[in-house]
């Protein structure tokens, strides 16, 4: 008998876990209810072999453990009350959203979105910086060439482009 009950506890816990992992609220609640049943059976099992009366009148007859039964009773009441509250909450969720599934956390999504936006922004900024640096290097080289008065060294195309772009900007040319 004890082995059978132990198996029952195992099956109830397994079913409860499966249901608890679902995204539907009613299934989650049913999973918790199954857990409650599993625990109650387990508490009874903890009290030892079943069959004898829990209270006897002064005789030496074998008695069943009343404490385990009292604990199971308390656990049943608590699970029942909270189960009812959960169902009410699931109903509330259904009236608010018209859906019975667990929703995503908006703020979490926002932070994640923010992080990926930041990443992309940073990436584009870095890419731009890199372009600028290349231009700058070219400019520096061109400047150094001019300062040294070395006429033979022809400015590279990039530097030319940069310099002319600079000149256009200085002149207030909108292109």
């Amino acid at each position: 008998m004890i082995l059978v009950l132990a198996l029952v506890v195992g099956v109830l816990f397994t079913g409860g876990t499966y249901l608890l992992l679902q995204r539907t609220l009613t299934r989650t609640i049913l999973g918790l209810v199954l857990y409650g049943h599993a625990v109650n059976v387990l508490l009874l099992l903890a009290g030892g072999r079943a069959g004898a009366p829990p209270l006897v009148d002064g005789t030496n007859a074998p008695i069943a453990d009343p404490l385990a039964q009292a604990m199971a009773l308390t656990a049943i009441v608590i699970t029942f009350g909270i189960g009812a509250f959960l169902l009410a909450l699931a109903y509330r969720s259904w009236t608010l959203t018209g859906d019975d599934t667990a929703e995503d956390d908006v703020e979490d999504r926002r932070i994640a979105q923010y992080a990926s936006d930041q990443y992309e922004e940073e990436m584009t900024r870095l890419a731009e910086l890199k372009d600028l640096e290349e231009l700058n290097d070219a400019e520096v080289a061109a400047f150094a060439d001019r300062a040294d008065g070395v006429e033979a060294a022809e400015p590279t195309e990039a530097a030319e482009a940069a310099v002319s772009a600079d000149q256009r900007r200085d002149a207030g040319d909108p292109t």
Partner: protein
């Protein structure tokens, strides 16, 4: 003396019943609640005084002696934590009275709040594993309703997560209690501790691990913390404040109590230390990523839980004493920070950093309150957090636990960094976007209702008092820690009446 312990549980429940009866008049409920909680604070202070002078004591309910009957036990750990918790509960209650827009369903808020207080008292005082479960359930059932008070969409969503995860933890707790009963034949904690030595080693490990996981979910330690930053921020402000200050710490209390009783030679200490380190790091990194003030603070709850476990994991007198002191410091400080967040929300209508700014000029009072709380949290001298962290770090060095002590110091710096983030976002500069409340636009001064300010000042005063009386509190913490580590001669003897 024997009447006081049950009174601490019964009085708030009675007050809750009377509040329900007086549902027509919010005023009567408010007066009743303040009266009941004030009496409870006085009683718990009396209990602490008694325990500090005469040592721990136990009361058998209905005259049934332990291990058969149900006992309430007060030792230094539970008495001190109970006192500081009830002070916080009272402070937040006054704050809630002062809030301007009464939340929908205000007429049952007060009753539920008192039920929560009763659950807190019961959890600290019970000497019985199954009653610990019942106490948690009393506290949590009240919290389930409080966290969804108002029934807005996001509250229902996060409330659902909160309830499911806590119900799961409670189910695990009953399972563990059932298994412990099967293994030892008792559920009286002292009796279980005596008989636990006869249980085979593997079974001891399994039961200890189950207890750690169960209470770990309630205390939000790594990797079981994910529900907390999701659930807390959506609740009404006063509710979040009291949850942040208390609920997780009761989980830590349960961990300390069960681990020291069942494993007097420090069985799972390494596991606790690893969990502590990861909790500290993950909590603080999570906090840095957030943009909402409530969420930053919620992640800090987790990070600070790591410090408490760090003290426990060292398993030395000074380590556990430091953990006890740290909890005592943490309960009011955490609450203060959430209350300040509530003040900010009351005057501006938001807690999002990118919508806030410049409150330093417009409301220097709120800024000052936040500064005191935040610096204390980060551990800047001469505030209370400094003493807590110094004690922990010293204990860590004494035990030569270099790695975790180093981590705790580094996390401290990161804590300060994320507090700076709040400071820069809320109090300095100008808002990027206009705050939602019309009255908060412009540059004029902003003021919260006087009663809310008073309650916040009172709790800040408590944190300052923890710093001022750090020496006597530390001595008491050391004594509490000695009682915990010599449970045989203290807790167990007292409960079993040997």
């Amino acid at each position: 003396m024997n009447v006081i312990l049950p009174l601490l549980v019964v009085l708030p429940l009675l007050g809750a019943g009377l509040s329900m009866a007086a549902w027509r008049s919010v005023r009567i409920q408010q007066v009743l609640g303040v009266a009941v909680l004030t009496v409870c604070v006085a009683l718990s202070a009396l209990v602490t005084f008694e325990v500090a002078t005469d040592g721990p004591f136990a009361v058998a309910m209905g005259g049934w002696q332990a291990p058969m009957g149900i006992v309430l036990v007060a030792d230094l750990l539970s008495a001190m934590l109970l006192t500081v918790s009830l002070v916080t509960v009272l402070g937040v209650f006054v704050y809630a009275i002062g809030q301007p827009r009464a939340d929908k369903g205000a007429y049952y808020f007060h009753a539920l709040y008192l039920v929560l207080a009763a659950g807190v008292s019961a959890a600290f005082l019970t000497g019985d594993l199954f009653n610990l479960f019942v106490a948690f359930e009393i506290m949590l059932s009240a919290s389930y309703v409080l966290i969804t008070l108002g029934g807005r969409g996001e509250q229902v969503r996060s409330g659902m997560t909160y309830i499911v995860i806590n119900l799961l933890a409670s189910t695990l707790l009953v399972t563990t209690v059932g298994l412990i009963y099967a293994a030892t034949g008792s559920i009286n904690m002292a009796d279980v501790a005596v008989r636990f030595a006869d249980v085979p080693d593997g079974m001891q490990m399994a039961l200890g691990a189950l207890l750690l996981v169960t209470f770990g979910i309630k205390a939000a330690i790594f990797p079981l913390f994910f529900w907390l930053p999701d659930a807390y921020p959506t609740a009404p402000v006063a509710v979040t404040a009291v949850f942040a200050g208390l609920l997780t710490k009761i989980g830590v209390y349960a961990i300390i109590r069960t681990q020291t009783l069942l494993f007097p030679d420090g069985g799972g200490a390494t596991l606790v230390l690893v969990a502590a380190a990861l909790t500290m790091i993950v909590g603080v990194l999570g906090a840095i990523a957030q943009d909402d003030m409530k969420r930053i603070l919620s992640f800090h709850i987790i990070s600070q839980i790591g410090y408490m476990l760090f003290g426990l994991g060292l398993y030395t007198v000074s380590g556990i004493a430091a953990a006890v002191f740290f909890i005592i410091h943490q309960i009011p400080v955490k609450t203060v920070l959430f209350l300040v967040n509530g003040l900010v929300e009351t005057v501006t209508g938001t807690a999002a950093l990118h919508r806030l700014g410049g409150l330093l000029r417009r409301s220097p009072f709120i800024a000052a309150m936040f500064l005191l709380g935040a610096l204390s949290l980060a551990g800047i001298p001469p505030l209370s957090g400094f003493f807590g962290k110094v004690a922990l770090v010293q204990a860590g060095f004494e035990s030569e636990a270099w790695v975790i002590t180093g981590i705790s110091i580094a996390v401290s710096v990161l804590t300060l960094f994320s507090m700076t983030k709040i400071w820069a976002g809320v109090f300095w500069g100008e808002p990027y976007e206009a705050p939602p409340l019309r009255s908060a636009r412009g540059t004029g001064p902003l003021r919260a209702p006087a009663l809310m300010n008073t309650a916040t000042i009172a709790l800040v005063a408590v944190t300052v008092a923890v710093a001022i009386f750090a020496q006597p509190l530390w001595e008491l913490s050391v004594e509490a820690s000695e009682q915990l580590l010599n449970a045989e001669a203290n807790y167990i003897d007292v409960v079993l009446g040997r």
